[in-house]
């Protein structure tokens, strides 16, 4: 992006890193401390350009702690106490923070925020630090670090770096790192007008490559320009395909959210016929359960999230049972009235969360293994959190399908909703069926909440945001048909995402709604209608 | 079909522009004519190349095993079910397959359903009032008034169906048999040219059956009546011509004696040991 580095400096660095490695053993600690303090002191200035120079100074020093300091500085943990010492903050939650001495690494207990001054950095410095660390890391024995630093070099190579780079490529064992470095070199070659570079870059989807080729395509040299153009057009072609795949993924992912939110309702509303306006709040409870679990298990967001799956189900199911027993059982045969009562319940649950927990959103942490993307290629990466949600939605759907199709509960609940009196006459314990089914639907809503906590706000309004969509998906799919809910959710998601790039988010949403209205004219009973004499009345 | 077209045919949007339904034309033959009608549900042929003709003023009994397609046949005539193939004409002018239920009903085809369906929230009286032959467009309905004449007619029918005492009760509380009667009453109020009566005497006592028989035979002549019934005693008491349906097509047709001695009919329907019919 930016030429953040003077190349002379870079070479110097490469040199110094190698030198440091040898010098380290012989350096004396005491002499270092005074010098180190001076280095750090230089950081404690207001001007960011002065800080930048201080950082360079640290890099050029042969102090073995340099990388740690830079990392702490990058993380914003390098701070200065009122009495002029430098400390590293170990944990910066709350008002008092545990700290350690920056020079000795000795823990110093807790300090108040009032007594600490952060050594601030801005994005430019952050870039500088990253690159500095990256260049150091290019020589790291750690392959992962080398890969990251190699990626950063794309578009950043120039004359003086080109040479050491070729040598590094030759020595590199990791194919990925080598490929990246080759590309980085090739970009430099293209920029300096060498045709060879264009050939190397052909087919690469990396944006920096594209920028370089675009520039080359406008170059005065017709041979280069033609080659670059040709390479570009094949890249564009490839990009288009990848963009299509990406849109499909976006659609599936949005769809899976809709499915998850709606699937519990497909049970309570679709199968049981209860217009459960509190469905959204049950989702909300699932999300809050995740938050609660993460509070109970600090530092283990992943474990907490996994435990939230059963916990979220249970919490929502129990609340569902309470709702069923407390209210809905009295409304048998009056399905429309369940609308009124459950709306009341939804108001109560929302306000309950506001009063008991907080009107503010809560932070739910995304565990390491769920954040970031799965990189398919330079132009296509799939976000992991959404991939998990998509998978989760499918698993939940399959499980529900099994329960409704393969267990007695599935049969009994359908019998009870179709003809309650007769079902009881057949010996079906209708009350128990009601409780279990409602608990199941509610529990699934809770599961949706657990998943949604990874994508969106965990706050008192969470439920409200999903209730309308959920009903729409269930009805659009065809009431009482789980497949319908799945297909409806996924297809609405895909339609929305396909429309969005050219219509914009607002218009896309409107178009989807109009589409639903028109579609229902064609199929007045949804995507998968209940068929047959009885349904047609 | 297209939106534009339906908007341009304004008489379909605005009731008051609709022409008066033209009377059924029976000068050239039967009142109901079904030819090669076929209906299939998910591949199952409920009606299979059915041909049936009902003459004006005729009383026809239709019998046949459960699932033979009798009710489905009525569904086709009244516009509830669209056949996959074939043609259905009412008189020589009206192609019923191109009309919807209310149009067919206002042409003068009335129906009593196998499973009694009445308007449960309305009183017995109101059920009859709504069924009554009248101008059923919006504004006439809105401004319709209850005249003494209408009241008399309703009361008359109430008397006939024995529900006078219950006339202000909501129809929802009626017993099964009472609903059957109410359905018959509604049919009478409609004064249709063609009555389709699906199992009128199910759940009736012997004496009620007799009354129903009288009623239906009384109507025949002026109106055409098609009766579906499994009670052979009843069929025998009213039948002139009987059609036997089996697997969606006509198995036999003729007088009661003819068909009940037909071995095929005995085999699929009456049973060897048919004492009720005796």
């Amino acid at each position: 992006m930016r030429r953040f580095f003077s190349l002379g400096l870079l070479c110097l660095l490469l040199l110094s890193v190698t030198v440091t490695a040898q010098a380290q053993t012989s350096a004396t600690v005491e002499a270092n401390d005074a010098a180190a303090l001076e280095l750090l002191n230089a950081l404690d200035v207001r001007s960011y350009s002065a800080k930048g120079e201080a950082i360079n100074a640290i890099l050029q020093s042969d102090d073995e702690r340099a990388r740690d300091w830079l990392q702490s500085l990058l993380d914003g943990r390098l701070q200065r106490t009122d009495d002029g010492r430098f400390v590293v903050v170990l944990d910066n939650q709350g008002r008092d923070w545990p700290v350690a001495d920056a020079l000795t690494n000795e823990p110093l207990g807790e300090m108040s925020r009032r007594d600490l001054d952060r050594i601030g950095i801005n994005n430019n410095l952050r870039n500088q630090l990253r690159s500095a660390i990256a260049v150091v890391d290019l020589y790291s024995p750690n392959v992962e670090r080398r890969r990251i630093s190699a990626s950063r070099l794309l578009g950043e190579v120039d004359e003086e770096l080109a040479e050491p780079l070729s040598q590094l490529i030759a020595e590199e064992e990791d194919a990925e790192v080598a490929r990246r470095l080759t590309q980085a070199l090739a970009i430099y070659q293209v920029e300096s007008g060498e045709l060879e570079g264009v050939e190397t870059l052909r087919g690469s989807l990396h944006p920096r490559v594209r920028v370089a080729l675009s520039r080359a395509a406008n170059s005065d040299d017709p041979i280069i320009a033609d080659a670059a153009n040709e390479a570009l057009s094949s890249i564009e072609q490839n990009l288009k395909i990848n963009r299509g795949l990406e849109t499909l993924y976006f659609g599936l992912s949005l769809g899976s959210v809709l499915v998850l939110a709606a699937i519990g309702l497909a049970i309570t509303f679709g199968v049981m016929g209860v217009i459960n306006m509190a469905h959204g709040e049950l989702i909300m409870l699932g999300a809050y359960t995740t938050w609660m679990m993460q509070q109970l298990l600090p530092g283990q967001p992943g474990l907490a999230l996994i435990l939230s799956i059963p916990a979220g189900f249970m919490v929502a199911a129990l609340v569902g049972i309470a709702i069923e027993r407390g209210v809905i059982q009295f409304l048998k045969g009056r399905p429309l009235e369940t609308l009124l009562a459950t709306f009341g319940i939804s108001l109560i649950l929302q306000q309950l969360v506001r009063t008991v927990i907080s009107p503010l959103n809560r932070t739910v942490i995304t565990p390491e293994w769920m954040s970031g993307s799965l990189v398919i290629n330079d132009a296509l990466s799939l976000t992991l959190n959404r991939m998990f949600v998509l998978g989760f939605a499918l698993v939940v759907f399959a499980a529900l399908m099994l329960i409704m199709r393969r267990t007695r509960l599935g049969l009994e609940v359908r019998a009870v909703t179709q003809n309650r009196a007769m079902a009881r006459s057949m010996g079906i314990r209708a009350t128990r069926v009601d409780i279990m089914t409602f608990a199941l639907g509610s529990g699934v809503a809770g599961l949706a909440g657990v998943a949604l906590s990874q994508l969106t706000n965990v706050g008192p309004n969470l439920g409200q945001n999903y209730i309308i969509d959920s009903f729409m998906v269930v009805v659009f799919g065809g009431v009482g048909n789980l497949w319908g809910t799945l297909v409806a959710g996924l297809s609405l998601g895909i339609i929305n995402q396909v429309l969005e790039p050219w219509a914009g988010a607002v218009l896309a949403k409107i178009i989807v709604l109009v589409f639903i209205i028109l579609f229902i004219q064609k199929r007045p009973r949804g995507l998968f209608p209940q068929k047959g004499r009885a349904a047609e009345g | 079909m297209s939106l534009l077209q339906s908007l341009t045919t304004r008489d379909r949007v605005f009731d008051f522009m609709a022409p008066q339904a033209s009377p059924v034309d029976v000068r050239h033959g039967p009142i109901l004519y079904m030819e090669d009608v076929t209906v299939s549900f998910d591949g199952f042929k409920a009606i299979n190349n059915l041909n049936l003709t009902i003459d004006d003023g005729e009383l026809r009994c239709i019998i046949g095993p459960n699932g033979a397609g009798k009710t489905t046949m009525m569904d086709i005539i009244t516009g509830k079910t669209r056949p996959n193939a074939g043609s259905v004409w009412f008189g020589s002018r009206h192609n019923l397959l191109q009309m919807n239920e209310p149009d067919i009903a206002s042409l003068g085809i009335g129906r009593k359903f196998q499973k009694p369906t009445v308007f449960e929230a309305l009183s017995v009286f109101e059920n009859l009032e709504l069924a009554m032959a009248a101008d059923k467009r919006i504004f006439p309905t809105l401004t319709a008034r209850m005249t003494g004449e209408i009241k008399d007619r309703i009361n008359e029918v109430l008397e006939t169906i024995g529900l006078t005492e219950l006339r202000y009760q909501p129809a929802g509380i009626l017993s099964h048999g009472q609903k059957q009667w109410l359905e018959i009453g509604m049919l009478l109020m409609q004064r249709p040219r063609l009555l389709l009566v699906d199992e009128p005497v199910a759940g009736m006592t012997e004496q009620e059956m007799e009354r129903t028989a009288e009623l239906l035979t009384g109507l025949a002549g002026k109106q055409s009546v098609v009766v579906v019934e499994h009670d052979m005693g009843f069929v025998r008491s009213i039948a002139r011509k009987v059609t036997v349906l089996h697997q969606g097509s006509v198995l036999a047709e003729g007088s009661m004696d003819q068909v009940s001695s037909d071995p095929k009919v005995v085999e699929v329907y009456l049973g060897a040991d048919d004492e009720e019919a005796a």
Partner: protein
């Protein structure tokens, strides 16, 4: 098998069953008759618990001795061995034929998971249409399904509310024969509501005529005279 005493039932404010006494002897077929709206169906529903009774007793001779039905939940009654074929069939319209039958398995004590083959033997059409939705069946097919469904629970007492309604004659005959067969072979007790005299005469052992919510005549079926019929069954 079932002894009903002083049963009173109300729909809202209207008194439908009046101090009704009725005995259903074990191993016999008792036929209840009466004009439309006298309360036959209501009585059956009261026995099943589908309508609440105001007062009176329903004493049922179950496996473990006498049981007071009024104290039992509806779903418990079928588990005690009472099978019910209601008026109007009450098929679960969106369940397949097979699923309709399977609902009856809940009430069986032996935990059977499959529909007994015998049901399909009795009503072959059900096997043929096993996968069709109950609601799509023709009226008569539904009636057969309703009877089949009640038989799935292997009842001790079978309540049939106008079972022949809408069924083709040869199958009506067959149903009558099955009832007799079950009575004879399994000691089944049958409580039958029937308007059609020939059927009642042929397959019932005893009759009860109801009028305005109470029994007005009862006896062996042979004693069902034309006079009684004229008096109570004519409008």
């Amino acid at each position: 098998m079932l002894a009903i005493e002083k049963l009173n039932q109300f729909y809202g404010e209207s008194h439908t069953l009046w101090d009704l006494d009725l005995d259903v002897p074990e191993g016999q077929c008792t036929c209840v008759m009466g004009r439309n709206g006298v309360g036959k169906t209501t009585l059956m529903k009261a026995i099943m618990g589908e309508v609440a009774v105001k007062s009176g007793q329903l004493r049922y001779q179950g496996e473990g001795g006498e049981i007071e039905l009024t104290k039992k939940a509806v779903e418990a009654r079928s588990r005690l061995g009472i099978g019910f074929v209601p008026q109007g069939r009450q098929i679960f319209p969106l369940l397949s034929v097979e699923e309709n039958l399977r609902t009856g398995l809940a009430a069986r004590s032996d935990g059977l998971k499959k529909i007994p083959e015998r049901i399909y033997e009795l009503f072959p059409v059900l096997k043929e249409m096993k996968h069709r939705r109950g609601g799509d069946l023709s009226g008569g097919q539904q009636q057969q399904l309703a009877i089949g469904r009640a038989l799935v629970i292997e009842p001790k007492l079978l309540i049939l509310d106008e079972p022949g309604e809408g069924i083709q004659p040869n199958i009506v005959t067959q149903i009558g024969q099955v009832i007799r067969q079950l009575i004879k072979e399994d000691g089944l007790t049958v409580l039958l509501v029937e308007q059609k005299l020939p059927f009642a005469r042929k397959y019932a052992d005893r009759f009860v005529i109801m009028d305005r919510g109470r029994p007005v005549a009862k006896g062996e079926i042979a004693e069902l005279s034309n006079e009684l019929i004229k008096q109570h069954l004519t409008v």
